[in-house]
Amino acid sequence: MPEEEKDYYVLFHNHTEGLELYQYVRSRGISVKISPTPRVASVCCGMSLLVGADAIAEVRQCIEASQAAYDRIVALPRQIDPHRDKFC
């Protein structure tokens, strides 16, 4: 799967862990979004951070620097066509 067709999801045990990393990442100007955890990634109904392929390396650095608690990172095919509705 080409890198540009992937999205990364950082999975957590709970919202507290997720929100801590989200705030840390955002405070460094890195664009990530809070998302429900994709069912294909985990049957747990928690939150995840949706990270584009262009930002995943920086997010990994943030995890390392902050020693953030998390479950794992999964790569999934991009579900939403980024060009969708562009010319509608």
């Binding site: 709970n14 919202h15 507290t16 929100l19 801590e20 705030q23 109904c45 928690g46 939150m47 608690a69």
Partner: protein, 385 residues
């Protein structure tokens, strides 16, 4: 009639500025649950909850992660969690002689299940005999739990000496800060605590129905939850998650209460606990000085370190009659009785008569102390006539 609220040991009043507004904001404008969905309102609520965990950790110098700040319905719940979640038959616990029933009643249950309990002796002035403490430690001792400040006499427990011994003997030390949190500084890291229980509605100036337990990693690992259930995490499993805070936060949390507590913590940071401690100490010293020569007994002695809690025993009068007159004639609100602490009153020699408790808070003034002293003088004088 003007009212003078001197029952801050029961619950603080008024609450910190911003508490009511924060709770109303949540109820009226947000409403979303936390730890479940990820839409913006839910995450906005979650960010306030996380902020409250961080602020509380900072206030008490807790070195652990925010996940180890566990919200509870109050200090009583937290103390039950610590006691019932860590002790089992054949094990032993050491507590102080001035404990509240929030500790003594769970211990009565645990005693019936085979847990042994020792109390660190204290004299009738409330002075704890620290030298005896080390001799109470047994091979089966699993926990030391003490009240930081007595809810009856206000006496501050000699924590540093006990903490040092616990550290040397590798014994977990848990602190009930029901009467100290928000009133005087707390140093979780410096005292090497394993657990700290706080109510949100007393010195922390938040609403009722919210409190917290802060847990060290090692102690948390051996603690069993009191209540299990949904956490919004690991929903595929019917077993309680191991990670924190989920392991100890089953069910929907008291989010309005946490919003109120968060606002109170913001205020406490701005005002400063040391500043509040100095203010309340000044009021307490003035009050104690003004009682000199009156026909009454100050429980716990007058010279000892204390928070803003002073219990008086009016030996020539029924304490209930004094409390009634204080309210009826002067609008002064106190708490009369045994204060849910029969063990403390026995230690202080005031069982079963109890006492009239005056407890000062951040909002009380020197003028209110003077008016209270004047009222007490008049009541005592009336008795002499």
């Amino acid at each position: 009639m003007r009212q003078i609220y001197l029952d801050n040991a029961a619950t603080s009043f008024p609450k910190a500025p911003g508490v009511a507004e924060a709770m109303l904001h949540y109820i009226r404008d947000i409403g979303a649950n936390i730890n479940r969905s990820t839409y913006a309102q839910a995450m906005n609520a979650a960010s306030i909850v996380l902020d409250a965990r961080r602020r509380l950790a900072s206030l008490v110098h807790f070195p652990g992660p925010a996940t180890h700040v566990i919200f509870t319905p109050g200090a009583t719940y937290g103390l039950n969690l610590i006691l019932k979640g860590s002790l089992k038959s054949g094990e032993h616990i050491i507590v102080s002689s001035l404990e509240h029933n929030a500790v003594m009643r769970p211990l009565a249950e645990l005693r019936a299940q085979g847990v042994a309990v020792s109390c660190i002796p204290a004299d009738a002035e409330g002075r704890t005999d620290v030298q005896v403490f080390a001799g109470l430690i047994q091979p089966a001792t699993r926990l030391v739990l003490v009240s930081h400040a007595s809810n009856v006499s206000g006496n501050v427990f000699p924590l540093e000496e006990i903490a040092e011994i616990c550290h040397q003997r590798n014994l977990p030390l848990a602190l009930d800060a029901s009467q100290s949190a928000g009133h005087i500084p707390i140093d979780f890291a410096g005292w090497n605590l394993s657990a700290l229980c706080v109510p949100g509605h007393k010195g922390l100036l938040g609403p009722q129905g919210i409190g917290a337990v802060l847990l060290s990693e090692g102690f948390a690992n051996r603690l069993r939850p009191l209540v299990t259930g949904g956490t919004g995490s690991a929903s595929d499993s019917e077993v309680q998650p191991e990670w924190l805070p989920d392991r100890f936060e089953a069910g929907t949390q008291n989010v309005p209460g946490i919003f109120g507590l968060q606002a109170a913590l913001v205020y406490l940071e701005q005002r400063g606990v040391r500043s509040i401690a100095a203010h309340e100490a000044l009021l307490t010293e003035s009050f104690l000085a003004g009682l000199q020569g009156l026909p009454l007994r100050v429980l716990g002695g007058e010279a000892m370190e204390r928070v803003g809690v002073v219990s008086l025993n009016f030996s020539a009068m029924d304490n209930a009659s004094v409390a009634f007159q204080l309210e009826e004639r002067y609008g002064i609100l106190t708490r009369c009785g045994l204060h849910c602490a029969p063990a403390a009153h026995r230690t202080l020699g005031s069982f079963p008569a109890g006492s009239v408790r005056f407890s000062f808070g951040y909002a009380n003034t020197r003028e209110e102390v003077e008016l209270t002293l004047q009222a007490i003088r008049e009541i005592c004088k009336q008795r002499e006539l």
